[in-house]
Subunit: 239 residues, 2 copies
């Protein structure tokens, strides 16, 4: 039997093959179109999810009906697994924002293993600490970076941070969502993108962005950040 | 021997008396004046801390020298304990912002216990999940609430949320720090406080604020929040 794709996730690295085989035995693979809602805030949770392809938006709704984006999750990452810490309920809504291939697993299997496998608990604690770090960084940026610096940061996170020479990026989902994710109005986003074009010479054509000099963007955005470049959390996630 | 004060913290509730006695055996009690720096971002971590009295600000500095507030920690809460997840280094700076009495404990003792006590690991995972929740809420508010709503939220969090009738609050530390904690400029803070006075009839005299009708403030701030009032995380912290 080939190695489970879950083994590539740092969360499951300490786990036994027997447990991963058990998860795999009950897995489901599904293709979802953009716009598909996978679960809703408050739903009883039965599955957790690994994105193979596409992007998924996690959000909550306020009483006023406004959407607060919690995360936009890329391929290679899990979502929904935190319900094991939330009395088996999802604390947010998950919606596909770019056509996706998603594998789902039994949350009950995960929960049962957490009861007895302390290495998995420790691994989940490390994952949670990483998430806290990402959020702290985001909060910091909301306080300290201006709109153009925040967009610059997102572009750097979408880039190969070890690249030399010019870098090309394709924005992975629509600009309205990127603006919402960064906590800004679409108009603010457009103005700030214009500023990046003027001041740093970024070439922007629709969703395609060319950066001639990554270091210039690093100086621009990362000077207003307390974390080191290249971003350690991205490296950890890739491990 | 009287029960350890650590037993009152949800993190340590599942722990054995023997372990808590060990922590207590190496504890140090210190009084610090406002302005005292307890540890600096990047410091090797040897102790973790419980605030008995006063307030402590946790922050990081950007390369530009700007301060990003991570948290302002009240009496009854720990700080510095997360260094066990960060290779025994503090990832932020801790500075006393109101004269404080602080008990410190050995981080090595905590770390050693985490290796063998899976209940403590699970408890720490729950704590971390709570912190993630608090941060998600804060991020949500930065995206969705205006400055006056964010201040209203802070006032509600400083209030007895089950109170009926008029409520009096004393701001626990200076307004410049509150503004920074909420991610706004001091001028924005002053203007927004003025708006709360005009629109909701708050009486503000220096650090003293009187709220005639808590429900009015709840309608004003919590309508732009995806969490329920009274705030569940405050209740959990008090358990």
């Amino acid at each position: 039997m080939s190695e489970s794709e879950l083994k590539q996730l740092s969360l499951f690295q300490p786990c036994s093959s027997a447990f991963l085989e058990k998860l795999d035995a009950h897995k489901q693979i599904q293709n979802f179109k953009r716009g598909k809602v996978i679960f809703i805030q408050g739903d009883e949770a039965e599955r957790f999810y690994l994105i193979r392809k596409g992007w998924v938006k996690l959000f909550r709704e306020t009483r006023d009906g406004a959407q607060a984006i919690i995360d936009v999750v890329p391929a290679g990452r899990l979502f929904g697994e935190k319900a094991v810490l939330e009395n088996d309920h999802h604390s947010c809504t998950a919606e596909v924002v770019e056509d996706a291939e998603i594998v789902s697993y039994s949350l009950a299997d995960l929960k049962k293993e957490l009861e007895t496998d302390s290495d998995l608990t420790k691994s989940m604690l490390q994952e949670m600490a990483r998430q806290c770090h990402r959020q702290e960084k985001e909060l910091e940026h909301r306080s300290i970076q201006n709109a153009a610096q925040r967009i610059g940061c997102l572009l750097l996170r979408l880039s190969d941070q070890t690249a030399e020479g010019p870098v090309s990026i394709k924005l992975p989902y629509d600009k309205t969502l990127i603006a919402a994710q960064l906590g800004m109005q679409p108009e603010t986003f457009s103005r700030a993108l214009g500023k990046l074009r003027e001041q740093l010479g970024l070439e922007i054509q629709g969703a395609n962005i060319q950066i001639d000099d990554l270091q210039k963007l690093v100086s621009f955005s990362c000077s207003a950040c307390s974390f080191d470049f290249p971003c350690k959390d991205l490296q950890e996630a890739a491990e």
